[in-house]
């Protein structure tokens, strides 16, 4: 558990970066600090491991005042992941990951064995251990950064915009990976980002910071969207917040059957037909073809996003992005289950609202 008690940071030039921050980060959760640049989110994070010391106030990690511990010792007990990973370019990936265990006095063999184990935990082939950081992609470097932070098995992990320098597709993969890791490791994670979508996706609790170092709201993501504390929070979570609220609803949507055809099959297309491969995975749509044809990749109209049965947002997006207005739902193996319609999603939302499932 991390507690901020009346923490203020005033820089030498008089700017107040953090103003009287009171906040408790619960153990075993991911807490996200989010806000525009200059709102004090990174400064708040960096005060936890004393990369910056507060002007006044107290920060407790598991009940212990951080100012009572000498910074290097404190930092070895707190995992730290930064933007662009910050790997040591002159050290191999394995030695990068082994850094903290070695600093803590483990012998080299044990530290390297632990490092190899961590590479696997973060989803990297141990063969990467012999490479140097410059030989890895941005996403791979960031995985190594996470492995390095976890090496000494610290209870607390600080992550300062760790995924903001990688492209959106890789970022999404890393986010999913972090959620998977957290489910196994159960760390107390503080995650800083300026991306509200990332905050809402990762955070069990989200602290929205406002310019001038004020904490504007500290709440669960669904509550942030449905009941923003002030205009700043409302505008920061964005105009799409009604749509984003759907992310937190898991209501059932009726699934309709759909006409399918396999590649290479001879069919007569009368209505929108979903073309699937041998494993029933969707390949694309067919529509408006005269007479009987043999289905080939060439005739396909690209499909939209796929709905995996999890959230209403996924269902609605699948329906809205599909050329046939039918959102394709797939099972865990990627095989077609049926289709959903946007109208049904709206009805499910209304029903959830009536049942009081939408936070007010």
């Amino acid at each position: 558990m991390i507690e901020f008690r009346a923490v203020t940071k005033r820089f030498e030039d008089g700017t107040i970066a953090v103003d009287e921050l009171d906040l408790t980060v619960e153990a075993g959760t991911i807490t996200v600090f989010v806000g525009p640049s200059g709102c004090g989110k990174t400064t708040s994070l960096r005060m936890v491991n004393r990369m910056i010391d507060p002007t006044s106030g107290t920060i407790l990690v598991d009940g212990k005042d951080v100012l009572s511990v000498d910074p290097p010792t404190l930092r070895r007990g707190i995992g730290y992941v930064i933007q662009q990973a910050g790997l040591f370019p002159h050290r191999t990936v394995l030695d990068n990951v082994a850094t903290v265990p070695l600093l803590s006095g483990w012998d080299r063999r044990k530290a390297r064995a632990r490092a190899a184990e961590l590479l696997e935990i973060v989803g990297l082939d141990p063969a990467f251990g012999k490479r140097y950081p410059a030989q890895l992609s941005g996403g791979q470097q960031q995985r190594v950064g996470v492995a390095r932070a976890l090496a000494a098995d610290p209870p607390v992990l600080l992550m300062d915009e760790p995924f903001s320098a990688v492209d959106p597709v890789v970022r999404e993969g890393l986010q999913d990976e972090l959620l998977r890791l957290q489910a196994e490791l159960d760390k107390t994670i503080v995650f800083v980002t300026h991306d509200i979508d990332e905050a809402l996706k990762l955070g069990e609790r989200v602290a929205v910071f406002q310019t001038g170092g004020h904490l504007a709201q500290y709440a669960k993501p669904a509550e942030l969207l449905s009941a923003p504390a002030n205009d700043f929070v409302a505008s920061f979570v964005g105009r799409d917040r009604g749509y984003r609220t759907l992310t937190f609803l898991h209501a059932d949507v009726p699934v309709h059957p759909v006409t399918t055809a396999k590649l290479g099959q001879r069919v007569t297309v009368t209505d929108w037909t979903l073309v699937v491969d041998d494993q029933d995975r969707p390949r694309g749509w067919l529509s408006g073809v005269d007479g009987e044809i043999e289905v080939s990749e060439r005739d396909l109209i690209a499909g939209g996003s796929l709905y995996d049965g999890s959230t209403l947002r996924g269902a609605l997006d699948a329906a809205l992005s599909s050329p046939s207005a039918l959102g394709v739902m797939v099972d865990d193996n990627g095989a077609v289950v049926g289709v959903v319609k946007a109208d049904d999603v709206i009805k499910a939302l209304a029903k959830a609202r009536a049942a009081g499932e939408v936070p007010k």
Binding site: N49, M51, P71, P72, T73, L74, R75, R76, Y80, I82, Q83, Q84, A85, G86, L87, F88, P89, H90, R91, T92, T99, V100, L103, K130, R131, Y132, P133, A134, Q135, R148, A149
Partner: protein, 221 residues
């Protein structure tokens, strides 16, 4: 003219070419060692703390402006003949490029890397010795090799005050109007400069992490 250099008589005895070469190499290596011991810690410390950069730049420029021959003569007048004045003059010549290389090398280390070093719990000495210096090595070598070339060339002036080295061939040749000997001296100095640089290039390859070579060429994959 080249006859002097290839005359076997000049390749033996206490004033033969091998002796002069070794003397010259001795001046060079000892000078570089002393200069490195002074300049690398100074440049690295200033680079690490970020304070006193103007001292490094000012000192370097002032030292560069000193005419080496004048320094040599002044120290001879004060301390008498021998190797000591030679070392003073050459060390003062070697310090600026080595110090500038160390300073620039440390400053050029990515601040993100240094932040990460502190963030994982390294002490300041660890940050400097385990992260900044290893990453600054290519630039440190750059300054050092530049200094080495200057010192090899300039060590000829040792002979001006009666000390040894390849300068003897140049100065004796001049005194005796023996231009073949002068040419031999010049050629050997140039050759030695190339060899010394190759030696340090080899050392650099052995001591700089493969991770710091340009992408695509470095390390085993």
């Amino acid at each position: 003219m080249g006859g002097w250099l290839f005359d076997p008589a000049h390749w033996s005895g206490p004033t033969g070419i091998p002796v002069r070469l070794l003397e010259h190499l001795g001046y060079t290596l000892m000078t570089l060692l002393i200069a490195a011991v002074i300049a690398i810690p100074l440049g690295a410390f200033v680079g690490h703390t970020g304070k006193g950069g103007f001292v490094v730049v000012g000192l370097s420029n002032a030292l560069r402006a000193l005419p080496t021959t004048a320094v040599l003569i002044l120290v001879v007048l004060w301390a008498g003949l021998g190797d000591f004045p030679v070392y003073v003059a050459l060390v003062l010549l070697a310090i600026p490029p080595i110090m500038a290389g160390a300073y620039a090398g440390i400053r050029a280390v990515d601040p993100v890397t240094v932040d990460a070093a502190r963030g994982v719990g390294m002490r300041e000495s660890g940050v400097l010795l385990k992260v900044e210096i290893p990453n600054a090595l290519p630039l440190i070598y750059g300054g050092f090799r530049g200094a080495a070339l200057q010192v090899v060339a300039t060590a000829t002036i040792a002979a001006y005050t009666g000390a040894g080295g390849l300068g003897r061939l140049v100065f004796d040749g001049l005194a005796l109007q023996e231009f073949g000997q002068m040419l031999a001296g010049a050629v050997l100095v140039a050759l030695l400069a190339v060899l010394v640089d190759l030696g340090f290039a080899g050392l650099q390859r052995l001591t700089v992490s493969p991770g710091l070579r340009p992408v695509g060429t470095g390390g085993k994959t």
